[in-house]
Each structure stands twice: as C-alpha cells, then as structure tokens.
Point group: D2
Chain length 363, copies 4
C-alpha cells in the first residue's frame, strides 16, 4: 500500500499553492456535484474555475452559501473540451449520469485534462454494461485505460505525463470493499457465506424528480430496491476478487446522507476476533481516513451519522463463534463520491491523501 | 348551526345500510385520494364502487393494504359520466387538479351524480381564478351553484332533489377558518391585526414528482413558499368575511401529514381569555370533531401530530394582555381534504356528521 | 392451522356485543399501550374499562384524540387485581416492562382475569432470563403455563375455563418467525445459512427518556445495536425450532413505526421460487392478515410503510440461483404488539381473528 | 459598525499562529459544545487544549470523527480555574446550563481567562432572572460587566487588558435581532405590529434525555411551546430597544439543526421595499456572514437548510402594500451558538471576524 502523508516526502505546500490546479465540476447541481464544489472551493491546491450542468441558467451561489461560490463561472458542457485544450481546466470531475460520462470522459481526456469520473461508466467489463446499466458501452476501448480509484487500495498514481482517467468507485461498492477486501486478502472468511445488507440515504439516488423519491414516499419507510439487481454488485464482486456474487441487498433510508452495510460471513480456518483486527490493521496501515475496531468496545464506530459530513470510513466488527458481523459506514456523497474523488485528485498531484478534506493545513 | 347526531332525529342506520350509496373516487392515486378510498371502504353507508386515475394501469390494492381494496374496480375517467347516468355511481369525489375538476365536476353533476370536489375549482369568484390559479375558469356559471362545504359552518344540506356540487374547502383554509370565524363572529379581534403563519406537511403538495418535493430537499428544512401568494389566501378572506387580506404565510414542513397555523391578533373592546372560550363554545356547540381549549391548560391541543390520522380539528388559544395567540391544527389529508369530504357526504345523506370517521357504529 | 372466520361457525356478533368483555390496559402511556387502547376503544366485542400506568396522574384523553377516551377510567396498578376478582376486568393487557409483567401477570391470572402479556416475561426458558433479560425469572413455574401467541401459528384457544396467560410474541420475533417458519416447515432452506438483518422504528424502544433515543440522535442514522445480543434472538431460535441461533442484527431506524427484516438463506434440495410460494400458501391458508408474493412482481409488498398503521404482515421473496431473499415487514406496535394482542383476545373469545382490526363489521 | 477583515489592518496570521490561543470548551458533550470543539480544532489561531463535561468519563473522540479530537484532554470542571490561573487556558467557552454559567463564568474570569458564555446567564437584567429562568441570579454584579456579543452589532472589543466576559446571544434572539434591528434603526416599521413566529430544530433544546424530545415525539409534529413565555423574548425586546414585547412564538421542528423565523410588521411612513433593502445594506455593510435580499428574487435565501452547517445568517423579505414579511434563518448551533462564539473570540483577538469559519486561510 501507498504510504500516506508521512512528513518526510510531503511536497512543500507553498510551492504547490503558488499555482493551484484549475478544476471544473460537471453535474454541479446534483448532490455529489455540490459536495465536490464545496470541497474544491476550500482545497489548498485547487481552484474551482468552472461548473457545468445541463441547466445552464444555474449558478453555484444558489446552492452553496459560501461566498466564494460567487466567483465560479458556469460554463456550457460543450465548452469544457475547449477550456481543457487551452489549459484553463486541468482536472475535470464528472458527476454526471453513467451514459453521459461514457461519452464525455474520453473526449475531455483527449483534450488534455485529467478526468475523475464519479459515474459507473468505467468500472465494469465491456460485456457487463448492457445487463447492469442498460446500454452498450460506446467507448469500450477506454475501459482498460481507466484506473479504479479505490483509496487506499489503489497504488500511487502512475507517473505518466498523459492525462489520466480515474473511475471513482460507487458508493455502496466503496463501503463494502473497504470492509471485505482486507478479510479476503487475509483468507479468514468463507467467500460463499458472504451476505451484505446495505442501506443508503436518499441522496444516493440523485436529485432527479421521481415519485418514489418524494419526501412522502421515502419518509417512514426503509424500502428494499433492485433486489439482487443493483449495479454495484458486479463492481463489488470484481474488485473483491470474488468468483461468485455474494448476497447483496440495498435499502432506501429516510435519511439524506450516509450508507451503512451489515456484512455477515463465516470465519474459516479457526480465525477469530484478533485475526479480524489484524487484517484491518495490515490493510489500512497509516491511512488517515478510516477507523476500525470491535463494535462492543467502540460503539461510536457503528454510527453512520458520525461519518456523515466527513471523508471518513468506519468499520465495526464483532464475532460470535464462527459468525462474523461487520458494519461499514461512509457518507455516500463524500467517501462514496466527492471526497474520494478529491483523494484521487490528491493522489494524481502527489499530495497527502487527505489534503483539503480535514480543514487542516497539514494532513 | 346545524345540530349533529342528536339521537332524536338520527336516521336508522340499518335501513340506510340496506342500500349503501355507490361512490367513486377520481384521482385515487394521490394522497387525498388514497385517504378517501380508505374512509369509503370502511364507511357503513357507502360502497366504494370505482376509482379512477390518469394512470389507468393502477389498482387500489397496490396502495392500500386493506383486502377490501381488491374488490374495487378501476375505471377510465371517460366512463364516469356513463356510470353516473346509469346510477352506478351516485356520489363522486374529485381529488383531481383544479383545472381538471373545473371541467369534470359540472359534467358529472349533469350526469346525475352528487359531486364533492376537493380541488379549488369552485371556491372563488370568477374573476379571481386567473390571479390565484393561473387560468380562466371554464365554467364560471357553476361557481354560484356550488356550495362551500366548511363543516360545521355550512347548514344542513338543501333538500333539493337535483344532484349537488360541493366545494370541499382547502386544507389551509379549513384550519384557519375554523379558528378565526368564531372570533370574527364574536367581534372580539381586530381584523386588521390578523397574522397567520401556517405550516403544512409535504403531502399537501400532492404526489407529483418535482425536485423541490424530493426527500433530500424537504428533509431538514421548513421552507416558506408562495409568500403572500398562496391561493388559499383569497379563500380565507372570502369565507371569513374579511375586507382586507390578512398576513398569511405558508411553510413546507419535513412531515408527511398535518397542518398547524400560528394565528396572532389583537383583542378588542376589552375582550379577554374567557371571551375567546365563549366564542368557540358558541360556534362549535355539540360538533363532535373539534377540540378547543386554553393552551397552557391543555397542552395536547397544541400537537399537530395528535390529530394526524384523525378527522379532528384542534384549537389552542392563549392571551397575554391584548395579544391573542391561537394555534390551529388538522390532518391536511383528512379534515383538510378526505374526512371533510366524507362529512359533506354524510350531510348530503342526512347522516350524523362523523359517520364512518370514528370507527364507531354509532356516532 | 386453525381456520379463521369462516362464516359457518362465526359467533353471532349481536349476542356477543350484548355483553362486551371488560378489558384493561396496563402501561397505557407507552406506545404499544396507546395503540392497544385505540384498538379496544373501537372493538365491537370489548369495552376498555380502565387503563393504568405508573404515572397515575395520566388520562387517556391526553394521548388519544378519540372522544371515547374520555370515558376510560385511570386506575392505580395496585387496584387491578381487585377489579379482576370483582369481574370488572375480564381481560387485562400488559404493555409493561418485562420485569413488571413477570410479577404482575401471575397475580392477575390468579385474580381471575385472562392476561395477554406484551413483554418478554413468558417467552423463554427459565435458564435464559439471566442472560437475555438480565434478571432471574421470579415465577418460573408460570413459564409452562403461558401460551406463545404467534398468530396464525398458534392453535385455537384451549377450551379451558381457567383464566389464561398469553405471551404475546416480540416484535422482531413476529416479523421473522412469520417469514421463516413456513420455509423451515417445508424443509427448503439450509438452516445454518440463515442471516437476518432487521430494522425497527424507534417506537420499538419504548417511550422512556434516554439520550440515545432523542430526535437528534436517531435522526439521520440507522444504528446497529445489541449486535448478536438482542433478546429476541433466543425467542426466534426457540419458536422456529432452530438448533443453532442464526445471524441476527438489529438496527434503529429514523422512523416512528415499522419493522422490516432482510432474511437471506440458501435453498436446498433443488428448491426454487415456486416452492417458496407453495410453502407460504400452505402455512397461511385463509389467514386474512398476511400478504405474501414475489418481490419483483409485487413491489408494494416490500414497503414497510404500507403496513405501518395496519394489522397486516407482508412477506416478499425473490430467488437468484440457490440464493433466497425474503423481506418481512410489520408495524412493530400493531402486529408486533397491540394488534397481535387483539388477535389473541379474539382467539380466546372464539371471535374471527381480525375482529376489530379492519374497521369491519364482518371480518 | 465595526469594519471587518479589511486587509489594511489585518493582523499577520503567521505571527498570530506562532502562539495559538489555548482554549477550552465546557459542556463539550452537548450539541453546541460539539460544534464549538469542531470549530476550535480547525481554527488557525486557536488550540483546543481541553474539554470538560459533567460526565468526566467522556472523550471528545467519541463524538467527533476528526482524528485531532484524540489529542484533546478531558479535564474535570473543578480544574478549569487552576488551568486558567496557570495560563494553560486563555479563553474558555461555556456551553453549560444557565445556572451553571452564572456561577462558573465569574470564577473563570477572575482566574484570568476570557470567558465566552453561550448560556442565558449574562443577557438580562437582574430582576428578570426569576421570571424567565426560574432562579435569582447569584452574581448580579457581573451582569453589567458582561458584553452582549451580537455580531456584527457589537463594536470592536474594548482594548482592556483585563479578562473579558462575553454573553453570547441566544439562538432565537440572534436570528430575530439580526432581522429587526436594522428595520427599527431605520424607523420603517411599526413596532407595535411586530409578530414573530419562530421555529427551531430539536438540537436547540439540548441533549438532555426527556420524553418530549424523543424521536417518536418530535417526528411528525411542529409543536408550539412556551407560548408567550420563552426566555428569549425579553432578550429580543431589550436588545431591539422595544418598549413593548412583540408577539413571539416558538415551535419545535422535526429537524436536527436550524432556526427560521417568520417576522411580520406594518411598514410606516410610506416605507416600501427599497427602504427595507437600504436598511439592511446600511446595517450590515461588508459583514461577510450575512446574506439578505428580496424573497421572490432570491428564493435560496428562504431556505433554513442552506445555512444549516454554516456560520451564515440569511434574511429574505417581501412587501405587499404596507405588509412586510421577513424570513430569517440561521443554524441554531452555529450562528445561534458556536460560530457566533468564535466570532466573539476573533473579535477579542482582533482577528477578521470569520477566521476559522469559512475554511479559508484568508477571510
């Protein structure tokens, strides 16, 4: 694993800041887009130069109370490539629907910008798109070029000069993979026994008007949806290296932000609590944006709400005989979208991974 | 005021039930329509024969867990008049948009059905529709024929044989008018001093998909909307007999059901707490579906939630010198829509006003 | 299974009503107690004669808008046995803490009343109380005398003359057992593979003031609690006839009412979807208060909110290869407490099981 | 009004940071205390050296995911004065109950610390405490020494050497005073016509376990409370300079954070919309933490949720003839408590007022 933020090789912030990276956010009216914009407004090594949305009449200051939002230009999506070619947008974040990203990301990379795509457009194999996303991928040759940016399980950025395409992981996939990859790597759970019951706040479904997302529908319920059919399932299976898809269900919580997943598995080979702890210690090392511990000893780690509004991930575990219970939680709009995208930005720029995510000068 | 449910002149339920009234609900997928359907399924003197909605693929049992919902036919809106002419629908409830009701209600009355319209289509004067509802009324000659069904302030049903058109009052208007008409009638408040700050659960805005009604928008806010521009304002002014429109604001609560209104006014002529109590006693008499009392003595009367799910209205009042505070609450979908419509149905059929609204055999 | 409500042997309601059963609710200020009181106020064969609570200053009409609540006496808990001996309370519902019920129920049965206890006091074996409820059972000899009232899986009431003690099942246990007993009975699932991830509205935790149940704590979270330690786990294992306790987790939803459980298991012996359907058909027969069906065909069955406020249970299932997904939902205060208690009351009185639960004269 | 943050006289941050102010938060387990702690952890000119709470077993890292919380000591309240005398705590924030602050604040000021008190202990006249807070003030001689810290309406900090006592304004009072003081100063509203209908998220009531703040009580309601009896009413009247107390009501919203107030008044002297705009422009000048504008032109200014989580205040106004509608919103825990306390801290230290509140290096 990459070592994070050790002071020894930390870049000098001052010289970095001397010329902050010019960034843009596409899909800035959406919930992830708003969070990305807020983070970039406050990022010490970035400038939010422009935002785009299908609604061009939109202005960022309507959505964000921060007065710095007033200085951000709204540009038509059609101008992004031109701005990228001119060097006026160096990194572009796409918080756009999967089908939009599939076309737009390659175009912007070719125009010279690094692209960090928050959609599902570059996470699966070409033959999976029809089944899980309902369309044939229009640029399947780019699927291999993209890098799956699951932080901290992705290595240091390749030191290529060419502009890069990062597939920012899905929200459910992020929460689940951070919890199960260490266990699978340590060989201490029976893969076939894995059951994942995941729940998400309604912001995970985006900001599109639809009857089933109305307040009066979501309120008071905890609705299972896409039973055995959620598009993050093949993403989880692929990046966890599972031969068979695990049990996976998703629920809509009457909550704005947050994902929590109950993960159940049989321990194998006599593994017990201490082995679980060791697996997480080994996997996360000094990564500053995760907390893990035994549930009964660290009850705060069970609370999804405690990580809402933060870039942190939490993993709480417990065992009972050979039964392993793991509860993983993140903010779906931050670690599940915007803040992980900023982690990827930091990685591409060789900055400490949490730069701009802790309101610290020194991460 | 009409006397309610005194046993002396109560009709014999048994003979009534012998041939229950065949009713229909139009707009049955909407929130008010669902409540109406539930009430009519359980009404001792009515049969819910048919429901309609623009979505004809719809079936009531998807929305209502009550197994009796399975026996209710879904009919196209176009067939309603035919059913009415054949006597297969005797009373039709319209939980449809104002523009739809304005056309449909006269057609169904002419086809022989009593119509109870829950929209705003027959509440204002003809010259007010353009300003408050955004369209010219297509059948202004029906505005005089309709009766404004504010229970208990409407008299006994006219003993006409002709089918009747009832304008069921608006939700905000119902809550406010029940609270202020008695005070104005008693002459104890200064009309020009009236300030009404009203709040409604999101179901009041209906079930149409729109961004501003998404869970993630409504949750965590209490948004003022239509400031000085809500269409219930002229309705309140008209039926309260106010020469000048009062201060009136409306807010969207992160709540499914319920309206609560803070009403503030200066007492006049030396009026004090006891006069307020007398005004309400005089106005409501034995009407069984209202509770009123001094706020500091009857704190439960302040709770909107306590009336949610019921057909009751609550009025809590307090004075401080010449200041009068009144808090009025109802369930916007029941007293503000469906249950008041059933009260009007009961009135038309000369049944005790709360029939079918208290789960009692004998109201 | 007992046959419900077939008209052949249905008692004549009129003669029943001639002398309604005098009932009392203890713990009537609690959330289950309030629901019980509402149901009994409207029950055609019962009179709610008295309510009790530790707070004797309490009056039912503060909690329930229904005007019939005003006629219900509040009596000290100490007087209940006397009233029972005098025949003034014939059936007493205990919505009291487990430790209170363990002492009170035997006393009231000995005083001559049928007791329906909503607590956990009579559901487990004597040696399990210390571990799961934290106290030694004070009257273990009564554990065998009590009958576990899981409707419809309990037979017709024993035709004994002696007063009876019913252990009304726990809320989680009810939702889960209704879903898994039919599958286990049919032998189509692998018991060792069972994983249950359950979620409950906050009313399940009762009305006691505690920091973790404050609005600002519960809102925005979905907190796992009592991981592998919930007291309904041994209840589920016992009444499902499971040799090993299944995976079981419980979460606190930011919802007032409702339980939903995701239940995951491996099918065995080549069982498939149709076998699941058959198992439920066989188990529930004509029982009117359950709905079950395939999730993808009957999406409404996935909604916990649709059963909130009703006495129904819902079971939605789906298969994917050998994976079985079941989602079970109930209202925790009704089928999980008050309405199941009324079902037990009906059973003891040989009334149709849904009497008083559907607002119908004829269930 | 004080001029904020003009670069001309801005202190050099670097030299300031060289020795950050050692601060402490008392009442750090409460909702305001948590927010204060978060702000101070990220403040460029402060160190959070210690937190206190009545529960000494408490550790800040249980409440705040930020890893810097782990370095903060928990000290007994009894040690605070000693730490202050030793110079180890230079500014102490009291997020304690009013009665606690009334005793503790003078003690800590005498020990040499600047104290910023978030309670009501130093906002009223000595003869008002019995009526509004229910106790006689134990140290009335300190009431004159305290300064009411309503930013931006308080001048620059007195350049005294002595430690200072700041009475941080109440949450409702802050929202209301920011909205009405400019109007009263401009003489454009009729004071006797003022009506204020205020609503607050439940965090305003603090974190003490009490039945009426349970999730199941607050959810689904909008409960008026302390009708004509809220302790912020005399605070508003006093600091607005009103001879008569205005109409003032307060409601409990089913929301975690935020206050919104509907404020209604008659314009006088022919004043109109433009005069309202001018009054706010004149009052707020370059103060960076307020936004104001006409409601119909700037709808975002009506949203309480948009300021939740921020240090901003919002004021939206509209007129209709002589009627003036103003909607004021803040985050009750930030501008209504913690961030205004930080503004006062900045003021005492002659820092730009928004330092540490916008995640900026340079406000």
């Amino acid at each position: 694993m990459h070592k994070y933020g050790s002071s020894a090789h930390k870049p000098t912030i001052n010289s970095e800041i001397a010329s902050p990276v010019k960034t843009g956010v596409v899909g800035a009216r959406g919930y992830s887009g708003i969070e990305l914009s807020k983070l970039l407004l406050g990022h010490p090594a970035a400038t939010l130069a422009a935002v785009s949305a299908t609604d061009t009449a939109f202005s960022l200051s309507e959505l964000v109370a921060d007065p710095r939002a007033e200085r951000v230009a709204t540009v038509p999506i059609q101008q992004l490539a031109t701005l990228a070619r001119a060097g006026d947008l160096q990194t572009i974040f796409l918080a756009t629907p999967t089908e939009v990203s599939a076309e737009l990301a390659p175009e912007l990379v070719e125009a010279g910008a690094d692209v960090i795509d928050l959609s599902g457009a570059f996470r699966l194999n070409r033959n999976e798109y029809k089944k899980w996303y309902g369309f044939e991928h229009p640029k399947p040759e780019w699927l291999d070029r993209a890098e799956y940016g699951l932080v901290p399980f992705v290595g240091p950025a390749k030191s290529v000069k060419a502009p890069r395409l990062i597939a920012n992981p899905g929200c459910y996939a992020t929460a689940v993979l951070l919890a199960i990859k260490p266990l699978i790597a340590a060989g201490i759970v029976e893969p076939a026994s894995l059951v994942i019951d995941a729940k998400s706040g309604a912001s995970g479904a985006g900001r599109k008007a639809s009857e089933n997302l109305l307040f009066c529908e979501v309120e008071g319920d905890c609705l299972p949806y896409k039973v055995a059919a959620h598009q993050h399932l093949p993403e989880i299976a692929r990046y966890a290296g599972l031969a068979e898809e695990p049990f996976f269900s998703t629920h809509l919580l009457p909550v704005n932000r947050g994902i929590t997943a109950g993960i159940y598995a049989r321990l194998r080979g006599g593994a017990e609590l201490a082995d679980v702890a060791r697996a997480y210690d080994a996997a996360f090392g000094s990564y500053p944006l995760v907390r893990h511990g035994q549930a009964s000893k660290h009850k705060a780690l069970l609370s999804m709400k405690r990580v809402a509004g933060t870039a942190f991930s939490q993993i709480a575990y417990e065992t009972e005989g050979t039964k392993l219970f793991v509860f993983a939680s993140i903010d779906n709009l931050l670690k599940g979208a915007a803040s992980q995208a900023v982690e990827n930005f930091n990685r591409l720029r060789d900055l400490p991974v949490a730069t701009g995510l802790l309101n610290e000068e020194d991460c």
